[in-house]
């Protein structure tokens, strides 16, 4: 067993265990943190495949940005997670049988001699000055420019959909119009009332002294 395969099995084991704990953890915060661990180990696998750019972007985007937001949401929402998980143990036996059968079938198929996975060679050794990031960038903006633009459009749709579903026509949304805010004048906020000066009453004097 080479060093690489030891690292691979170690990372794969952690990945599976942490993914399992994402769906079994009682506390949603623990589940979210397990997902962070799962992403982190997956990025380790990518480093093993010499795809360091993908590994770094996985950590930066998923661990750094997405999961932190996710944790915020989980902590802020008042959801009874126990109630959501009610059917979990009841459905588990059946689901487990189906999942195990599928995994066993796929495993048998893929490890059979006909599948020929054993003949797939190890990764080619690349030149010293080979830059994974540079190659990806080149491909992305030349050969793959069409799918890249479509992906940009998908993000655009996500933006429009998020605005359409959350912003408009909600009575409870705390929406302020900056243009109106900026245009506010002193007279809109305070009212200067002119009053006649009042005479000090005699009873006040006696009370204070």
């Amino acid at each position: 067993m080479t060093f690489q395969s030891i690292v691979f099995y170690l990372l794969a084991g952690i990945l599976l265990a942490s993914s399992l704990s994402v769906i079994t953890a009682k506390n949603p915060v623990h589940a979210a943190l397990s997902l962070v661990l799962a992403f982190f180990t997956a990025s380790g696998l990518w480093v093993l495949l010499q795809a360091e750019f993908l590994a770094i972007s996985l950590v930066l985007i998923y661990v750094g940005a997405v999961m932190v937001l996710f944790l915020f949401v989980v902590m802020m929402l008042d959801i009874n997670f126990e109630k959501l998980r009610e059917g979990f143990w009841k459905n588990l036996p059946f689901a487990a049988i189906v999942a195990l059968l599928m995994a066993a079938e796929l495993g048998l198929l893929l490890t059979s001699r006909q599948a020929g996975l054993s003949s797939i060679n190890a990764l080619p050794v690349v030149a010293e000055n080979y830059s994974n990031t540079k190659e990806l960038g080149k491909l992305l903006y030349t050969d793959y420019v069409y799918p890249f633009e479509i992906a940009a459009m998908i993000l655009m749709v996500a933006l429009v959909a998020a605005v359409a579903l959350t912003m408009r026509k909600r009575k409870e949304s705390k929406y302020v119009d900056p243009a109106v805010q900026v245009k506010v004048r002193r007279n809109d906020r305070i009212r200067v009332v002119s009053m006649a000066a009042e005479q000090r009453r005699a009873s006040d004097d006696s009370a204070s002294s």
């Binding site: 796929l106 198929l109 893929l110 059979s112 006909q114 599948a115 020929g116 030349t142 050969d143 793959y144 420019v145 069409y146 799918p147 479509i150 992906a151 459009m153 998908i154 655009m156 749709v157 996500a158 429009v160 959909a161 605005v163 359409a164 579903l165 408009r168 026509k169």
Partner: protein, 483 residues
Amino acid sequence: MILTNMNLGPVLPELFLLVAGLAILMLDLVLEENQRGLLHWFSVATLAGCAALTLQPSAEPVFLFNNMFVGDALSGVLKFAACAVTAVSLCYSRSYIAARGMFRVEFYALALFAVLGMLVMISANHFMVLYLGLELMSLSIYAMVALQRDSTKSTEAALKYFVLGALASGMLLFGMSMLYGATGSLNIGVVAQKIASGGANPVLNSIGVVFVVAGLAFKLGAVPFHMWVPDVYEGSPTAVTLFIGSAPKLAAFAFVIRMLAVGLAGLSADWQQMLIILAVLSMGLGNLTAIAQTNIKRMLAYSAISHMGFMLLGIIGANANGFASSMFYIIAYVIMTAGTFGIIMLLAGEQGEADDFDTFRGLNQRSPWKAFVMLLLMASMAGIPGTVGFLAKLSVIQAVVDIGQIWLAVVSVLFSLIGAFYYLRVIKLMYFDEPVANIALPGASESRALLSLNGIAILALGILPQSLMNVCVEAIRHSLHLA
């Protein structure tokens, strides 16, 4: 990359739609409240312009963007149909969405972006482009279903659609990754060559085909992957149901053709068996369950499932005639669905939904012309001679007989007989029952005119189908290089 081919002509419809869609999104910022109606007309004009741009003479397929995009006769016809039917459905929907507070720029922008996704799928020559086009279309549609966010029904429908759609995408991607492992490429042409030359790993190929077909069946709504269809059809606002039921079916057909008929042509023995099972189950369960429905939108959802089964009949043969008859079927089906949901929206009036059978009781006394159009639509869905639905069914069954699967033809005829029951029931309600309430039937003049045209198209194509049939046959022949 050497830019050998910078002729962007075939991509013009997509580019135009993209720019115009974004422009309409921006336009909303400067429009006054009473000018909002312009959004509708700009969107319809965009789709009309886009449809006009697809009418380019392209005898031979043109490949662009590093062979990821293909412009051929097939894509021209399907893109034209998708743009045209979406324009018509937007016209049908206008007064419906205006009455329900959905007349917002987001509705139009999302609809246009969904059409963009369809066009991308129709012209895809690469697994990744197929997938991205599918996601662009699906994400826009999920959001459209949820647009009426105060309605728990549509929120539930959107969530179901989203979760099951994600599952289907996962299956599709897993299948594609297996095919990539087997052939070493994601380009449809290269994959086809690899499989034909025997250079692909057979075990990985078979696993890939199984998952790809399952994912496609999910997207088409074929049994046993149909669970989401009735709930989504019923839960969505009818304008969105109309949208889901029409143009995306054309894109799904293109997906099936590009994926199975072109990319995996060499594995047709594998996918034929699966498609036979899917087709028989869809026709059977769709037609039988539709009888028991009391909600007309749910009934039409099951009817859609059975129609997808019929459409798959033509694909099973894996020959040019079969593909052409499926294409004829899907175009005819889209014309029928657009009209049917158009009528349902017209009957819905200012609020609520016209999804109850009571709305149709005695329609003939209230509005003979609408009842007659609905009669044509239902007759066509049932497959009664003289309408386009009959010829569509006839051509796919003919394709099945041609490949010697007589039993399959017999089964499909039997199921279409069973299906005729629930379509005829609607006709009976309209002509032989007394109206429950004498509600006035308003509706914008343009949608009434379009509905009449829609009914006439059903009859005209039913009597003179040759022009459309020729278009389908020519498109398949030129694009797939099949005899």
